[in-house]
């Protein structure tokens, strides 16, 4: 009996290239649609906050960027673990593809947070638990990128980057609970599993833009994975050509 390929079957690079080519245009179109709707409602329709005023509109980019930089890091660490344990051919490529995207989202989170902090708290930056642990997350992403490119032997770079990605997971609960463990200017989480303290008029655009940013994150990771697979195939073909030329000489 033949089984359907399932998620494990997608670890085959050829199948991945075929499926991702089909998905990618729809993914990016959906991302643009959700982002346009979420950001338009957030900027134009949603009311200003009764306490913070209109600066609350920064939330519609800042919060999704924060969620995705954390979620992206967890995904990268799981991919790194899968590469070590199950030797999935695409797992190491996923780590290389996710790291720059996660770093960009973490940078957006830090910069927009700073721009939100100035009118709300009266300062661009404080070295408190939440902001500092978020900066550490950004630096961890940069570390993974640097290690992946630090060795001439690609597999050594993959191993070193994967190890840092796995060890760095310790920072995720620190970010999450930093607002409860330490005194901080940053507000505690407004959305929990038990419910939300955000008014529905603000929650709706926030969720729309979060879905849009999540689809964008996934789309860009797919693009980068496709580029990495294509580059790897080209390198293998060149090596084969060189070997054949050596054999013929």
């Amino acid at each position: 009996m033949q089984q359907s390929p399932g998620w494990h079957g997608l670890a085959n690079p050829h199948r991945f290239q075929r499926v991702s080519a089909l998905i990618l245009p729809w993914l990016m179109a959906a991302a643009l649609g959700f982002l346009a709707a979420g950001l338009f409602i957030g900027l134009v329709v949603a009311p200003p906050d009764y306490l913070q005023g209109p600066s609350v509109r920064i939330m519609y980019v800042h919060v999704p960027a924060a969620w995705l930089s954390l979620g992206g890091y967890l995904g990268m660490a799981i991919a790194a673990l899968a590469a070590r344990v199950w030797r999935h051919p695409l797992a190491d490529l996923s780590v290389r593809a996710i790291a720059p995207v996660g770093a960009a989202f973490a940078a957006v989170c830090l910069l927009t947070g700073s721009l939100w902090g100035r009118p709300t708290w009266g300062t661009w930056w404080v070295w408190d638990g939440r902001l500092t642990s978020m900066l550490v997350l950004f630096l961890l992403y940069l570390g993974v990128i640097a290690l992946a490119h630090a060795y001439e032997d690609r597999s050594r770079g993959d191993r070193a980057a994967g190890l840092l990605a796995i060890v760095g997971v310790i920072n995720l609960p620190i970010i999450k609970y930093s607002v409860e463990w330490w005194n901080t200017l940053h507000q505690p989480a407004s959305i929990r599993l038990s419910g939300s303290t955000i008014h529905a008029d603000m929650l709706q655009p926030l969720l729309l833009s979060a879905v849009g940013f999540a689809l964008l994150f996934a789309g860009v990771v797919l693009m980068r994975m496709r580029a990495l697979i294509a580059a790897q195939k080209k390198a293998v073909r060149l090596r084969r050509k060189a070997a054949l030329a050596d054999a013929g000489a």
Binding site: I58, L111, A227
Partner: protein, 37 residues
């Protein structure tokens, strides 16, 4: 304090960083796939 410049700056940062990342990733993918063929 006028908050509008901060809101505009935040959206501009997101647009430049994430738009640049998306565009550069797309161009990289196209170039790599062209070179692979």
């Amino acid at each position: 304090m006028n908050q509008l410049p901060f809101i505009i700056a935040a959206y501009a940062v997101a647009l430049v960083v994430l738009g640049g990342l998306t565009l550069s990733s797309f161009l990289w993918m196209r170039r790599a796939e062209r070179e692979e063929e």
